[in-house]
C-alpha cells in the first residue's frame, strides 16, 4: 500500500469518526427545483443517516404540504411528531466526545413548536378539530423559553389563536376567552408580535369565520463560530416582505398583523446544556493539542540526549513520553468541539394573521406583499387562490410569500400520494 493510499484511508476513517457527512441541504434543493425538488430528493428516508431523519421528515412534510398533498404531509409530520415528543433520541454518547452532529436531531423548542403547529393546521383543515386542539396545545407546551431565567415560555401566538378557533368551534366561549386572556397577559413586545393586532379579543374572534395564516420570509439558521466552532450562533434570515394585504373577490380585507417571529423564538430559548459541554470540549481540545505536542517534543529531546549519552533508560523514558504525547495529541485532534448547525431551514421568518367574516361559498383571493416602507413587492403577488367558506365553522388558509404554497383545489388532490406514478430510483 502506498503512503498516499494509507493517508487517504486514515483520513476517510477520521471523517467517519468526527461526523463530517453533510446534512441534506434543503435550502439549496428549494432554490434548485422548488418544493418538488425536496419531495423528490427525500422519497427514500433510508438514504439519510438515522440521526438526520427527523429533520428530513420535517422537510418532506413541509414540501408536501406546500404542494397541496395534505394527507401525505400529515402522515410525515405525525411520524416526526412522535419522534420529537416521544422519542428518546440517540447518539448522545458520541456527541460528548465527537461531533455534536452525531446525536439525533430532535429540534429546538421553536422547531418542535412548529412541527406541532403544522400538524395541527393539517388536522384543522381536515376538520379533525380534536386532534388539532391537542397539537396546538403541545405547540404551546414545548415552547419552553428560557427555563433558567423563567422567561419567554409559551409566548408564540399562532397555536394560541388556533386553539381559540377550536374552542369556538366546540361552542366553548369560556375556553376561548381564557386563552385570549393568557395572550393579553404576555409582554407587548413588537419583536415577538404586533400588539395592535385587532383579533386578540373575544368579540373579534366571534365575528370572524375565516382565518388566514400568512408566512413571510426566511427563518433563522445556525452557524458554528468562536473557539473551534464551539459557539452555535443563531442568524436571522433575510427578507424584504413586512406585511401582506388580502383581497377577496376584488375587495380589500385589510392588512395582516404579525403574530409570530421565528428568530425571536429561536433566540429566547435560553442556554443549552450542550453549549457548556462544547465550551469544555474546545478548551480541552486546545489544551490537549498543546500538551500532546509538548510531550512529544520532550520525548524526542530525551531520546536524542539518551542516544548521545548512550543511556538506554533515558531513551526508553523519552519513547514513553513521546508515545503518551502522541496519544493525547491524536485524542485531542479527534475531539470535535464544533456546534451542531442542523436546523429546520424551511421555516418562515414571520407568521401573520388576517381574519374576516365572509359569506359562505366559493371565493377567489389575491395576496399582495409589501416591504417595511409600504412598497409593494410585485413579483410576490399571488392571485386566484381558492377559498371555500362553509355554512358553519371556519374556513382556514395557510399561505407563504416565497416560496409560495399551492392550495389544493380538490379533495382528491389533498388526499393523493405525491409519489404515485413516479418510479422509484
Amino acid at each position: 500500500m502506498t503512503p498516499a493510499l494509507k493517508t487517504t484511508c486514515l483520513l476517510l476513517a477520521l471523517f467517519a469518526l468526527v461526523g463530517c457527512q453533510s446534512v441534506y441541504d434543503a435550502k439549496a434543493a428549494l432554490n434548485k427545483g422548488g418544493w418538488q425538488q425536496i419531495v423528490t430528493d427525500t422519497r427514500d428516508m433510508n438514504e439519510f443517516p438515522e440521526r438526520d431523519q427527523t429533520l428530513v421528515l420535517n422537510y418532506r412534510a413541509h414540501a408536501k404540504m406546500a404542494l397541496g398533498y395534505l394527507d401525505s404531509a400529515q402522515v410525515d409530520y405525525l411520524r416526526a411528531w412522535n419522534i420529537m415528543n416521544h422519542g428518546k433520541g440517540g447518539g448522545v454518547a458520541s456527541a460528548y466526545f465527537f461531533s455534536e452532529r452525531q446525536k439525533w436531531w430532535m429540534g429546538d423548542p421553536y422547531e418542535r413548536a412548529f412541527n406541532s403547529w403544522y400538524l395541527g393546521m393539517l388536522y384543522f383543515q381536515a376538520n379533525n378539530r380534536e386532534d388539532a386542539m391537542a397539537c396546538f396545545r403541545n405547540s404551546i407546551f414545548v415552547d419552553t423559553g428560557d427555563l433558567e431565567a423563567g422567561e419567554y415560555a409559551a409566548d408564540w401566538l399562532p397555536p394560541f389563536l388556533m386553539r381559540v378557533r377550536c374552542f369556538l368551534d366546540r361552542g366553548d366561549k369560556d375556553g376561548a376567552k381564557m386563552l385570549l386572556d393568557e395572550i393579553n397577559r404576555l409582554a407587548k413586545e413588537p419583536a415577538n408580535f404586533d400588539p395592535d393586532c385587532p383579533w386578540l379579543n373575544l368579540e373579534a374572534q366571534l365575528e370572524a369565520n375565516t382565518v388566514m395564516m400568512i408566512e413571510l420570509g426566511e427563518g433563522p439558521y445556525f452557524t458554528a463560530e468562536g473557539h473551534h466552532g464551539s459557539v452555535r450562533a443563531i442568524n436571522q434570515g433575510s427578507y424584504e416582505e413586512a406585511y401582506a394585504e388580502v383581497f377577496v373577490d376584488g375587495e380589500s380585507l385589510g392588512q395582516s398583523y404579525k403574530i409570530g417571529d421565528t428568530f425571536y423564538q429561536a433566540i429566547t430559548r435560553g442556554g443549552r446544556v450542550m453549549d457548556d459541554i462544547l465550551k469544555g470540549k474546545a478548551i480541552a481540545k486546545t489544551a490537549g493539542i498543546a500538551t500532546g505536542a509538548a510531550a512529544m517534543h520532550v520525548g524526542r529531546v530525551l531520546m536524542e540526549s539518551g542516544s548521545a549519552k548512550d543511556s538506554n533508560g533515558t531513551v526508553t523514558a523519552g519513547a514513553i513520553v513521546m508515545a503518551a504525547g502522541a496519544v493525547v495529541l491524536i485524542a485531542s485532534l479527534l475531539m470535535n468541539a464544533e456546534a451542531d448547525t442542523r436546523g429546520n431551514v424551511l421555516l418562515p421568518g414571520e407568521t401573520h394573521l388576517l381574519m374576516a367574516k365572509l359569506p359562505p361559498g366559493e371565493h377567489k383571493l389575491e395576496v399582495r406583499y409589501f416591504d417595511s416602507m409600504g412598497r409593494e413587492l410585485r413579483d410576490m403577488r399571488q392571485q386566484g387562490i381558492p377559498l371555500t367558506v362553509p355554512e358553519k365553522g371556519d374556513a382556514s388558509l395557510l399561505l407563504r410569500s416565497r416560496p409560495r404554497y399551492v392550495i389544493p383545489t380538490s379533495e382528491s388532490w389533498a388526499k393523493s400520494d405525491p409519489y404515485a406514478n413516479t418510479p422509484k430510483k
Partner: protein
C-alpha cells in the same frame, strides 16, 4: 504496515461503537399492557386507554343500564358514542379510544342487550347519500322505509391533562372522564373518572 492496520481497526471499532452508522431497525410484538416497553415518554399509553375502556364497560354493567331499559321499553337501548374531547397535548388518542370502546362494548353485549348508532361524519354522509339514491329509485329498497337510529344515550368522554416540564422531565397527569347521558331528559346516568400520571426523562443534551 502492521501499525497502520491496527490504527485503522481501532478507528473502525470506535466508529461502530459510537453508533455513527445508521444501523438496522427491528420490530417485535409486545404485550399492550406492558408499560415497560414502548417509547420512553409521558402521555397516554395503550394500556391506559384499555384501563379506561374496562372501567366504562364495568360501569354500564354495574348501573344495570340494559336490564332497566329493557324492563321499561321492552327493547335494547341505543347508544351513540360521541368522539371524545381531547384536551391533552397528544393527538391521535381520541380516535383509538373511541374505536376501542365500541369494539369492547360490542364484544361484551349482544344486539338484544345494547345497540349502537354509528355517528361518524363520513358514515353519516354515506348513509344519507345511500338513502337518497334508494328514494330516487336509483338503488333497490326493502319495502317499508326505515329511519336512522335515534340514540337513547350519549356516551361521552373527555381527556384533559395537567402538563409540566423543567426541560429534563415531562410530567403529565391525564384525567379521563366519561359520562352516560339520557338523550330524552339530559339526565346524567353516570359519570366516572380515571387519573393516570406519567413522567418521562429527556436527555439533558436535547434541552
Amino acid at each position: 504496515m502492521r501499525k497502520f492496520w491496527i490504527i485503522l481497526l481501532l478507528l473502525s471499532f470506535v466508529v461502530a461503537a459510537s453508533g455513527a452508522g445508521t444501523g438496522c431497525r427491528q420490530s417485535t410484538r409486545e404485550d399492550l399492557e406492558d408499560d415497560e416497553v414502548g417509547p420512553e415518554s409521558s402521555g397516554p399509553y395503550a394500556a391506559d386507554l384499555l384501563e379506561v375502556t374496562d372501567e366504562i364497560a364495568d360501569q354500564i354493567k354495574k348501573q344495570k343500564i340494559t336490564e332497566r331499559f329493557i324492563a321499561k321499553w321492552g327493547d335494547a337501548p341505543i347508544v351513540a358514542v360521541i368522539r371524545p374531547q381531547n384536551d391533552t397535548r397528544f393527538p391521535e388518542v381520541s380516535q383509538i379510544f373511541q374505536e376501542d370502546l365500541v369494539v369492547e362494548l360490542m364484544a361484551r353485549y349482544t344486539r338484544d342487550e345494547l345497540r349502537f348508532s354509528q355517528r361518524d361524519s363520513d358514515v353519516q354522509e354515506a348513509v344519507a347519500s345511500e338513502k337518497e339514491e334508494k328514494e330516487s329509485g336509483e338503488r333497490t329498497d326493502r319495502t317499508g322505509r326505515r329511519t336512522k337510529l335515534g340514540a337513547d344515550y350519549f356516551l361521552k368522554a373527555k381527556f384533559s391533562t395537567l402538563s409540566m416540564t423543567d426541560g429534563e422531565y415531562e410530567d403529565d397527569t391525564i384525567l379521563y372522564t366519561f359520562e352516560l347521558i339520557d338523550t330524552e331528559t339530559d339526565e346524567l346516568i353516570f359519570k366516572g373518572g380515571h387519573k393516570i400520571r406519567r413522567v418521562s426523562e429527556k436527555s439533558a443534551v436535547y434541552r
